[in-house]
Amino acid sequence: QDAVTLQLKWVTQAQFAGYYVAKDKGFYEEENLEVTIKPGGPDIAPEQVIAGGGADVITTWMAAGLAARERGVPLVNIAQPFKTGGLQLTCLKETGVETPEDFAGRTLGVWFFGNEYPFYAWMAKLGLETDGADDNGVTVLKQAFNVDPLLQGQADCISTMTYNEYGQVLDAGYTADDLVNFNYLEQGIGMLEDGLYVLEDSLEDPAFADKMVRFVRASMKGWKYAAENPEEAAQIVVDNDTTGAQTLAHQTYMMSEVAKLTAGSNGALDPADYEQTVATLLSAVSEENPAITTEPEGAWTHMISDQALQ
């Protein structure tokens, strides 16, 4: 069996259900692979892990992947199970925010650690400064893990994922009617999320390329199974969570929402989506926080997905 180490972007949750299902259901084994799935965490940068040789393949957001490429870690997208993104900005209606025009003077919660590029691109597009609340700017908070800042009234809007934090806000007692959501895709600054990336030169090794083909094939099988059997997938995720803190109810919710994001993808990257992500990043470059400054080259390949999905 060939060993493959996958580094996730975040903790064990249904966001990564496809991989856990493939492992649990023996899809990897069928492809003669022995896959180790390393959960991530708030301070684990998958790009750093792969650069240091701690993983063969990682999941990450495209903006972060391209940024890493510009900083000397030659990442290549080999597959894109997520067709669309779940990132949004969620505001409390009672604070009076209804459109992006209302942002000026507000406090917005943002995730950093390589997740901030879409936000800065958006603000650049809106022409809003990010260094303090006034007529022409917003106050940015580094939002930690949870939705407390919104519930405690410390921020007017916070970042949420459709499949996770948004559900937590609903769980806390607010209804969809109390909230206003700005989906990044709908705002035209959508960027590809959770793709699979490897180091460019490793693909030159045919044996490695072959391993990745089998890996992507089995993973997509896992995603398909997960979408069809959300309850079982959620249970598999909960079983794989070593902290014992995840609940089945929440993971089931997450699975159903994640399925919406993976729905349109067969695993191959759609070059149009790639172009859009790059165009957004380049068109609205934030001065202090540029993800990329020049058009990347060779940042994706169909070599693996083509073979995997034929």
Binding site: D43, G72, V73, N115, L141, Q154
Partner: protein, 286 residues
């Protein structure tokens, strides 16, 4: 392996030899009996930096894992304005105010409990228990209570400093010898008099011990608390954000600032201690 890394390992070898030469110099200096002062640690530091620089460059360590020293230095110069902003946010606002509040509160409670001996025994036990507790774990709670800005960082620092200070002060107030106290009794000295003239001076070495422990805790507390939410400036914010962006040179620049600030803070307290407790055997020399 050999062929590929030859320039790297050759340079590394030269650097190792240079370090050995420097250390040999120090050895001869020290063993010749002359007072070498700050020279030996400086030489050691220089040797480590040299090995670091040559090692990272020579072996082609990716800069997203460990950048060479020179890159860090360049970054420090280029981003000095950001570094200063972060420093004032985290150290001047968060750490320092928390330090003053925490140490002050610990000291005052120790004084108070001294007047209520019954309370003191329990307080000390509970204080010892809480001092051993990983206070760092309360950071997410305090960020939730006190908001994102430096106030919550100050709160974390204050809580971390409180117990070491309390425990040390209480211990210090008990440090005056039985005979020294008896002397005060023979003078029928008032509580305040024996406090100011005997027990506080006798407690000073312990109080400074607490103050010194807290200098390192203060910086650590303020930085880690920023991991749990912060405005978009501060040393902890910068460290965690720039790791995510793979700008490791900036991360190390912040760490250098933190180490310099921490050492300076420690040094200042040590100087104060030396001035205030010159009489203590540990401070006498020659």
């Amino acid at each position: 392996m050999l062929g590929q890394d030859l320039p790297g390992s050759a340079a590394f070898g030269v650097a190792v030899l240079a370090c050995i030469a420097m250390m040999a110099l120090v050895v001869s200096l020290v063993s010749s009996g002359r007072r070498a002062g700050v020279l030996p640690p400086l030489v050691l530091g220089a040797a480590i930096l040299l090995l670091w620089e040559v090692g990272t460059r020579g072996f082609g360590v990716p800069s997203v894992i460990l950048p060479p020293v020179s890159a860090i230095a360049v970054r420090m110069v280029a981003s000095h304005a950001t570094l200063w902003e972060d420093f004032s946010q985290t150290f001047l606002k968060g750490a320092l105010s928390g330090y003053i509040i925490g140490c002050g509160a610990g000291f005052l409670l120790a004084l108070f409990s001294d007047r209520v001996p019954f309370l003191q025994r329990g307080l000390l036990q509970v204080g010892n228990f809480l001092a051993a507790m990983p206070i760092i774990g309360i950071a997410p709670i305090l960020v939730m209570w006190f908001g994102f800005d430096w106030q919550s960082k100050a709160a974390v620092v204050a809580v971390m400093c409180f117990f070491p200070m309390l425990v040390n002060t209480v211990q210090g107030l008990a440090a005056a010898g039985a005979m020294q106290r008896d002397l005060m009794r023979t003078y029928a000295a008032s509580y305040g008099q024996s406090m100011t003239k005997l027990r506080l001076p006798a407690a000073a070495p312990f109080i400074f011990n607490g103050l010194k422990i807290c200098t390192t805790l203060a910086l650590i507390g303020a930085i880690v608390a920023e991991f749990f939410g912060s405005p978009i400036r501060g040393m902890g914010f910068r460290i965690s954000t720039e790791v995510g962006r793979l700008n490791l040179d900036m991360v190390w620049a912040e760490i250098v600032v933190a180490a310099l600030a921490g050492s300076a803070f420690y040094g200042v307290i040590t100087l104060l201690e030396r001035a205030a407790t010159f009489w203590h055997p540990s401070q006498r020399r020659g």
